[in-house]
């Protein structure tokens, strides 16, 4: 592993927000001690799985450098985000890390034609190029997602289907030839018959352009389908991360187990629907110790007092008191 070049390094990143009014000192830590690495010579699709309020969107904003971490480091090609200053370096960062948003209808200005937006993006990133070169760049980006200027050019966002528009927004993101795409729930607003076209597209981009993709979602089924690695985020912590196949077929952390059990199997009657207690995660952020302890079927005394450390076994990392040195079982 020593030979590989680190593309994006996130190390113990932490971001907290104050709850309540000016005088309140309650704090929630939306992203806490999160570490992961993407390697330059090995493009990857990393899925980050979390429920609403788990901190996954905060994490995506950190990676996009829309927020800076309170502590810990996020570094792109060895350069810390804190040290980047000025428009040029910002643009440089943006060029290499690009977002794809959830709702394609909100990505595009409804009053502007789709191609205008694509041209504007291309001009921003390649200032000083001729119009014909700009056009060529846009055309190439559109070709990569299976569209063409003839198809989407001169059309307004409402004239395209959700699937086409989401493709166009992927095309927009790949115009500067980024190293990393951060896609936050990119398929949840796309029609069912077209959803897999976007998911397959990510795989193609990884294979043909060598782009790493951070796929943020709550849907385990599509994450299983496309990603090589997976990280489960719960109340700011990565509770489990490693190979997708291994984690989703043999989950270790009780929270991952709960998620896997709750994912509906699309075969008639294959999922057992328990009508149990309602799970609420409201107070979990403020909990001391393991944030999942209140809901965990295997919680022990120590779980309610001490935040579990990360147990590492190869590339499988899990934060749970059930594993690790104290508890060899």
């Amino acid at each position: 592993m020593s030979e590989t070049i680190e593309l994006l390094t996130v190390k113990n990143a932490k971001k907290s927000f104050r709850l309540g009014g000016l005088l309140s000192n309650k704090e929630i830590i939306a992203v806490n001690e999160v570490s992961f690495t993407l390697f330059a010579d090995k493009p990857d699709i990393l899925s980050i799985i979390g429920e609403s309020g788990s901190g996954k969107s905060t994490l995506s904003r950190l990676i996009l450098r829309l927020l800076l971490p309170d502590s810990g480091t996020i570094a792109l090609e060895g350069k810390d985000v804190h040290t980047m200053k000025g428009r040029k370096q910002e643009l440089d960062y943006m060029r290499r890390v690009q977002p794809i948003f959830q709702n394609p209808f909100e990505t595009f200005n409804p009053l502007n034609r789709v191609d205008e937006f694509l041209f504007a993006t291309a001009k921003n990133f390649y200032s000083g190029r001729k119009q014909s070169q700009v056009k060529e760049t846009v055309e190439m980006a559109l070709q990569a997602v299976g569209l063409s200027l003839a198809e989407v050019g001169e059309r307004y966002p409402h004239e395209l289907s959700g699937g086409q528009l989401q493709r166009a927004s992927v095309a927009r993101a790949i115009i500067p030839n980024p190293k990393i795409l951060v896609a936050d729930e990119p398929v949840s607003m796309v029609d069912a018959s077209l959803r897999m076209s976007i998911v397959n597209l990510f795989q193609d981009l990884k294979n043909t352009l060598g782009t790493s993709i951070i796929y943020i979602t709550h849907d385990l089924a599509t994450a299983y389908y496309i990603s090589d690695r997976i990280a489960i985020i719960h109340k700011g912590y990565f509770v489990e991360q490693g190979d997708t196949e291994a984690i989703l077929t043999r989950p270790k952390h009780p929270y991952t187990k709960l998620l896997v059990e709750s994912t509906l199997d699309p075969r008639p009657g294959a999922t057992s629907l328990a009508d149990g207690e309602i799970s609420t995660g409201d107070e979990e952020y403020l909990a001391v110790g393991c944030k999942f302890a209140a809901r965990c079927p295997r919680a022990m005394d120590i779980c309610r007092k001490v935040q579990p450390p990360e147990t590492i076994e190869g590339n499988w990392k899990v934060r749970c008191h059930l594993y690790g040195e104290n508890n060899a079982s």
Binding site: M196, L248, G276
Partner: protein
């Protein structure tokens, strides 16, 4: 025939607008025949914009301009006499709403009034339909009912924003089931919920259906939900029902190419097989294609599909499908 609770016949409805002197007609529901039985969990699946929410509105008897019914009928068969919803007066409809037909709406946050406590919402929604109870009896009834849904009575004194998403959805389910209606219409009841809460909520809805032995019409775009709760499913595409049948038949032996595609493209844990997708996009309902509405995207389309509209007919597999090629 006596086991039916609701029947639509040749239902055809459009949104008709006159904007800046331009008439526009969007044909959202085009010739829908449904026969929904008593004590049945009936699912309607379809993509966004295929007309499923409009169909639900019509089933519930809500039809206000710009929506207009052009042909067909919806009959509610839960009373001593069959009741045709579009020939009934507003007063007659008011009587059956909530008592006989109720609605679990999408997005519980939007249904509950954010500036009124939950109990006030119960008074607003349900009490007018339960005038035979005194206010004290009504409150007692609500508390018992919520207890059955595993919600404590402190919920009644909370504002909606103080509850979690799952609890709010339970409150709206509580609202819809309070009068033990014969039909409950659920429009995407779990779409905005997290996976864990989604499974719990579906479990709850399934249990309610068993306890009340009534009919639930569940609409969602997520076939994985249908697979786990529904007895029968209808697949909608561009305003028409393309296939209908028992859940197991639809999943294992569907005959319509659209249904087959939808089922084949469902991602599943433990399945890495490459999933395909359909080319093209759902048609614009203001200008639907002639013939079968699916033909421009159908990989198997033949000339006949382009001119003639297929009817929903029983097929060998046990399902009803609207396709010339299915046997």
């Amino acid at each position: 025939m006596s086991d039916l609770i609701l029947q639509t016949k040749g239902l055809r409805a459009s949104y008709i607008t006159h904007l800046y002197g331009i008439d526009r007609e969007v044909k959202v529901v085009d010739g829908v025949d449904l026969a929904i039985r008593k004590n049945e969990f009936f699912g309607i699946a379809g993509e966004s914009g295929c007309g499923k929410t409009t169909l639900l509105k019509l089933i519930a008897g809500f039809c206000k301009p710009p929506l207009q019914v052009q042909a067909g009928s919806v009959e509610f068969l839960g009373l001593s006499e069959p009741m045709s919803l579009f020939e009934s007066t507003e007063d007659e409809l008011y009587k059956i709403r909530w008592r006989n037909i109720s609605y679990i709406m999408q997005g519980s946050m939007n249904v509950l009034n954010p500036v009124r406590k939950v109990f006030k919402s119960f008074e607003d929604f349900a009490y007018p339909h339960m005038q035979d109870l005194t206010p004290a009896q009504f409150k007692q009834r609500v508390i018992e009912h919520l207890g059955n849904l595993r919600l404590g009575k402190e919920v009644l004194d909370s504002y909606p924003h103080e509850l979690s998403g799952g609890m709010r959805q339970r409150v709206t389910i509580g609202l819809a089931t309070l009068c033990s209606p014969q039909i409950i219409i659920a429009d995407e009841p779990t779409t905005a919920l997290d996976v864990v809460v989604q499974r719990e909520t579906l479990g709850l809805i399934k249990r309610i259906q068993k306890e009340l032995a009534n009919t639930i019409i569940l609409v969602t775009h997520d076939l994985a939900v249908h697979a786990n709760v529904c007895d029968r499913i209808a697949i909608m595409y561009a305003g028409t029902i393309v296939e209908e049948g028992k859940t197991t038949d639809i999943f294992d032996r569907s005959t319509h190419p659209y249904t087959q595609h939808l089922i084949r493209s469902l991602p599943r844990l433990g399945d890495k097989e490459k999933k395909g997708y359909l080319k093209g996009a759902p048609p614009n309902l203001a200008d639907p294609p002639p013939g079968c509405r699916f033909h421009p995207r159908c990989p198997l389309a033949v000339d006949r599909c382009r001119v003639e509209v297929p009817r929903l007919e029983p097929k060998k597999s046990g399902t009803m499908a609207a396709c010339f090629l299915a046997e």
